[in-house]
C-alpha cells in the first residue's frame, strides 16, 4: 500500500538539504561590480572543446577587470554554469543565475541556450552574447540573443564566392554539402546554403546535400557521387568525424576536392582526428573571427600577452579564439555602456541598447573580430560582414585570406 504521507517528509528534508547546498555561493556584490554569467558544457557533447573555449572567455574577463575595469571603477564577476548542452538544464539554472549574479550579460554556448532562453530574455532584460555564428531559426528582429558572426550560411557563402573568384570564369561553383539530421542546427545550415544557391544560381550550384550520421561509417559512395557530379568544394559544418570520413573517402578515390569546414570542426581539430595536419592539405576553414595561425597578428599578440600575464593555459587555436572573442566584444559593449551611462546602475537593457548605438571596432577586439555594427533587424551584424579563411599549405596551418566579403544571403 502506498502512502503519500511518507515521501512528504522525505521530500521536504531533501529539499531543505538541496536548498542549503544551492544557497551557499553568491557573495554580496560590491557596488561597482556586475555579473557576467557563462553557460558552459563541461560534461556534454562539447566537453572536448570547452576547456579551451572556457579559459579563453575567463582570462579575457580577468584581463579586462585588471586593465580596463579598474580604471572605470567596475569589476565584472564571472562564473561558469554547466548546462551539459541541455535545454532543460539551462532552463533550471536560469532563474538561479538571475537571482544569484544579477547578470548584465550572459555568455552562451549553443543551441540549447538559445532554445531555453530566447523567449525569456526580453522579459528578464538580459542580453545573451554568443560566440557561434548565427542560425536561420534565430534570425529574427529585435533579438536579445547576439551573435558576433553572421550565420554559418553567410560564412560559407563568403568562402564559395572567394573560391569562385580564384577559379575565375562565370560558371557557378559546384558545391556538395555533407550534413546530418542528428541536430536541427545542422539541418538549418544545410537549408540555408540550399536557399542561397536557389537565390544565386550564378554563384553556386549544389550537386547534392548528403545527410549522414554523426559518426559516419563510410562515405565513399556518397562522395563519389559528388566527385562525379564535378564538385569543386565540399561544405561540412557538422563535426570533425564527418570531415575525417569525407577526407578518407576522397583519399580513397584519389580525388582532390577541397573541404570547407567551420570553426568548431576546423582544420587543426580535424587534422588531429585524422592523424596529422598534412592530411588536410589544401582544405579550408572559414569563419568571421581571427585565424589562429602562426603568423604575427594583433590577435596573436593579444593572446601572447594574456598567456604571459594572465596565465591563459589554452593553446592558440580557433576554440580559444572563439572564447576570447566572445568575451572581448561583450566587455567592449559593456565598456561602451559604462562610458555612456556611467558605472552605476548599469542594466542588461542598457548594455543591449549600447550594442546597437555604437559599433565594436576591430581594433577594440585586437582584430579577433571584424568591426561589428549591430542593428535590430538581426541578431548578427548584417552589414560589412567579413570572414577569414585558413588553409593547410605544405603541412602548415596558414591564413589563406582575410577580410573576405560575404555576399548577401536571404533569410530562409
Amino acid at each position: 500500500m502506498s502512502k503519500p504521507r511518507a515521501p512528504g517528509f522525505a521530500t521536504l528534508a531533501a529539499a531543505a538539504a538541496l536548498a542549503c547546498a544551492l544557497a551557499a555561493p553568491g557573495a554580496a556584490l560590491a557596488q561597482t561590480s556586475y555579473g557576467v554569467a557563462m553557460l558552459s558544457d563541461y560534461s556534454g557533447p562539447y566537453a572536448d572543446v570547452m576547456p579551451m573555449l572556457g579559459r579563453g572567455r575567463e582570462v579575457v574577463l580577468d584581463w579586462w577587470n585588471a586593465e580596463v575595469g579598474a580604471k572605470l571603477g567596475v569589476k565584472l564577476n564571472h562564473k561558469n554554469f554547466d548546462t551539459r548542452y541541455d535545454a532543460a538544464q539551462t532552463a533550471s539554472l536560469w532563474p538561479g543565475i538571475k537571482s544569484e549574479m544579477k547578470p548584465i550579460a550572459v555568455l552562451g554556448l549553443g543551441g540549447p541556450d538559445v532554445a531555453a532562453l530566447s523567449q525569456r530574455l526580453p522579459d528578464d532584460g538580459i542580453p545573451l552574447f554568443m560566440s557561434t555564428a548565427g542560425y536561420g531559426y534565430a534570425w529574427k528582429p529585435d533579438s536579445w540573443i547576439i551573435n558576433p558572426r553572421p550565420t554559418y550560411t553567410h560564412e560559407h557563402a563568403g568562402a564559395f564566392k572567394w573560391l569562385k573568384s580564384r577559379r575565375g570564369g562565370s560558371q557557378p561553383l559546384k558545391v556538395g554539402i555533407i550534413s546530418s539530421e542528428a541536430s536541427p542546427a545542422y539541418v538549418d545550415i544545410a537549408r540555408g546554403i540550399e536557399r542561397y544557391a536557389k537565390d544565386n544560381p550564378n554563384e553556386i550550384q549544389i550537386v547534392e546535400t548528403i545527410f549522414t550520421e554523426v559518426q559516419p561509417t563510410d562515405l565513399s559512395t556518397q562522395v563519389r557521387r559528388l566527385v562525379r557530379g564535378g564538385v569543386e568544394a565540399i561544405s561540412i559544418q557538422t563535426n570533425t568525424a564527418a570531415v575525417v570520413a569525407t577526407k578518407r573517402a576522397l583519399q580513397g578515390l584519389g580525388a582532390k576536392v577541397p573541404v570547407i569546414t567551420s570553426s568548431h570542426n576546423g582544420l587543426p581539430a580535424s587534422g588531429k582526428a585524422a592523424g596529422g595536419l598534412d592530411q588536410m592539405e589544401g582544405d579550408y576553414e572559414v569563419y568571421g573571427m581571427a585565424i589562429a595561425s602562426d603568423e604575427d597578428t594583433p590577435a596573436r599578440r593579444f593572446y601572447e600577452k594574456l598567456k604571459a600575464g594572465y596565465k591563459l593555459a589554452a593553446p592558440w587555436n580557433a576554440l580559444t579564439v572563439m572564447g576570447m572573442s566572445q568575451s572581448l566584444y561583450t566587455v567592449r559593449v559593456i565598456e561602451h555602456a559604462i562610458k555612456k551611462h556611467g558605472a552605476q546602475n548599469l542594466t542588461g537593457a542598457k548594455v543591449r541598447e549600447t550594442l546597437y548605438a555604437e559599433p565594436v571596432t576591430t581594433e577594440e577586439t585586437f582584430g579577433m573580430l571584424p568591426t561589428l555594427k549591430f542593428t535590430k533587424e538581426a541578431p548578427f551584424p548584417i552589414e560589412g560582414l567579413k570572414v577569414n579563411i585558413a588553409t593547410i599549405k605544405g603541412g602548415k596551418y596558414v591564413t589563406a585570406a582575410t577580410n573576405v566579403d560575404t555576399p548577401a544571403v536571404k533569410k530562409w
Binding site: 512528504g8 525569456r120 539530421e181
Partner: protein
C-alpha cells in the same frame, strides 16, 4: 501495514489510500508546503521544482506503462515531444487556451503511443520494448522532414505564454503553480487508475500475460491501454514543458532522455506511483547538485581540471543507477516501506 489499533471495518475503508487522521494531516501539510514553496525558497529552486514536476508527470506515466503493466517503454521522450509540439502548434496557430491545449496534447501523445501499443497484438517481450525505440526515430525524422510550416522543422517552434484571464503565466513562480496543479491532478489520476479495474489488469498482464489471458483479460487491449495511458501522461508533461521553455525543438526529446526517465523509475522502485515521484526527485536532485557543486569542485580542486570533475559526474550518476539495481533492486520505495514497518513494529521484530 497499518498502525496498531487501526482496522478497516468497511470495504471502502480498506481500499482507502489514507486511513488515519494523521495521514490526512500529513498529506495536507505536505501539499500546503508545496503550495507555499515559492515564498520560502529562491527562484533557482523553483525552476528546479518546475522541471521536477514536469518530469514527475512524465515518469508517473512511464511507471504505469512499465512498472505496473510491465511494458518497457523507451519512447517516453518521443511521446513527450509529441505533446510539446501539439501544445506549441495549437497555442501558436489556433490561440487556444492552455486549459484546452494541455489535455489535447495528452490526447495527441496518447494516440501516438497507442499506435505502438497496438503492435502488442503481435509483438511480445523485448521485441515490443525495442519497437518503442522506433518511436523515437520516427518522431525525430518526422519533425525534421515534415513541411516546415507544420511543425517548424529544424527551426523549432515558439510557444506563446499561457494566459489566464489576461494574466501571463510566464514567470517561474506562476509556472510552478501551473505545474503543481497539473501534477497533483495527474498523480491523483494515477492512483485512481492503478486501483481500478485497469490497474489490476495491468498488474495481471505484467506478472503473467498467458495466465491473465486465460482469466479473461484482453491482453492486447490491456497492453495497448498501458501505452496509451503512459503516453497521455508524457503528452501532458510535454505541453507543460512547451509552456515553460516557450520554444520546442526536436533535440529536446532524445533517446537519452527516455533512458533517464527509466532510470528514475528504477531508482524510485518499480510498480509504485510514489516510487516514481521519489525517483524523479532523487535523480533530478543529484543532477542539480552535480551542476551546482561541479563548478565549485572544479574551482577548489584545480589540479583535477574541470573536465575530469564534470565527466566524473556522469560516472557517479550511472554508477548510482547501477548500484541501486544491485543493492536495492526493488527501489527506494521498498526500503522506505521496510523502515516504516520497522518503525511501527518497534521494538518487536514482526
Amino acid at each position: 501495514m497499518d498502525p496498531a489499533g487501526v482496522f478497516a471495518v468497511r470495504y471502502a475503508q480498506d481500499r482507502a489510500l489514507l486511513r488515519t487522521r494523521k495521514q490526512w494531516l500529513a498529506l495536507a501539510i505536505f501539499l500546503a508546503a508545496l503550495a507555499l514553496l515559492p515564498l520560502v525558497v529562491g527562484p533557482r529552486l523553483i525552476a528546479v521544482a518546475n522541471i521536477m514536476l514536469i518530469s514527475a508527470i512524465v515518469v508517473v506515466g512511464l511507471q504505469i506503462c512499465t512498472g505496473y503493466a510491465g511494458q518497457v517503454n523507451l519512447g517516453q521522450a518521443a511521446f513527450m515531444g509529441v505533446g510539446a509540439y501539439t501544445a506549441a502548434v495549437l497555442a501558436e496557430k489556433t490561440g487556444l487556451s492552455f486549459l484546452l491545449t494541455i489535455p489535447l496534447s495528452g490526447v495527441a501523445a496518447a494516440g501516438f503511443g497507442f499506435v505502438f501499443g497496438l503492435s502488442a497484438a503481435r509483438i511480445k517481450g523485448f521485441y515490443l520494448a525495442l519497437t518503442t525505440i522506433a518511436a523515437q526515430f520516427v518522431f525525430h525524422f518526422a519533425v525534421l522532414n515534415l513541411p516546415g510550416s507544420w511543425l517548424g522543422g529544424s527551426n523549432g517552434a515558439t510557444v506563446p505564454p499561457a494566459t489566464l484571464f489576461g494574466y501571463r503565466i510566464a514567470s517561474d513562480t506562476s509556472l510552478y503553480y501551473l505545474c503543481l496543479i497539473c501534477t497533483v491532478i495527474m498523480v491523483c489520476g494515477a492512483f485512481g487508475i492503478v486501483r481500478s479495474r485497469f490497474g489490476r489488469a495491468f498488474v495481471a498482464v505484467r506478472d503473467d500475460d498467458v495466465a491473465a489471458g486465460i482469466m479473461g483479460i484482453n491482453v492486447v487491449a490491456t497492453k495497448a491501454t498501458a501505452f496509451l495511458v503512459g503516453a497521455f501522461y508524457a503528452g501532458v508533461g510535454g505541453a507543460l514543458w512547451a509552456y515553460m521553455l516557450r520554444f520546442v525543438a526536436v533535440d529536446q526529446f532524445t533517446l537519452f532522455n527516455s533512458v533517464f526517465f527509466i532510470a528514475m523509475i528504477i531508482v524510485g522502485g518499480m510498480g509504485s506511483v510514489v516510487g516514481a515521484l521519489i525517483g524523479v526527485f532523487v535523480i533530478r536532485a543529484i543532477q542539480e547538485l552535480i551542476t551546482t557543486l561541479g563548478p565549485e569542485l572544479a574551482a577548489s580542486l584545480p589540479f583535477l581540471g574541470g573536465d575530469i570533475v564534470f565527466a566524473s559526474m556522469n560516472v557517479f550518476l550511472g554508477g548510482s543507477i547501477a548500484l541501486f539495481l544491485i543493492i536495492e533492486p526493488k527501489g527506494l520505495m521498498h526500503r522506505w516501506n521496510i523502515v516504516k514497518a520497522g518503525y511501527r513494529l518497534w521494538p518487536f521484530p514482526y
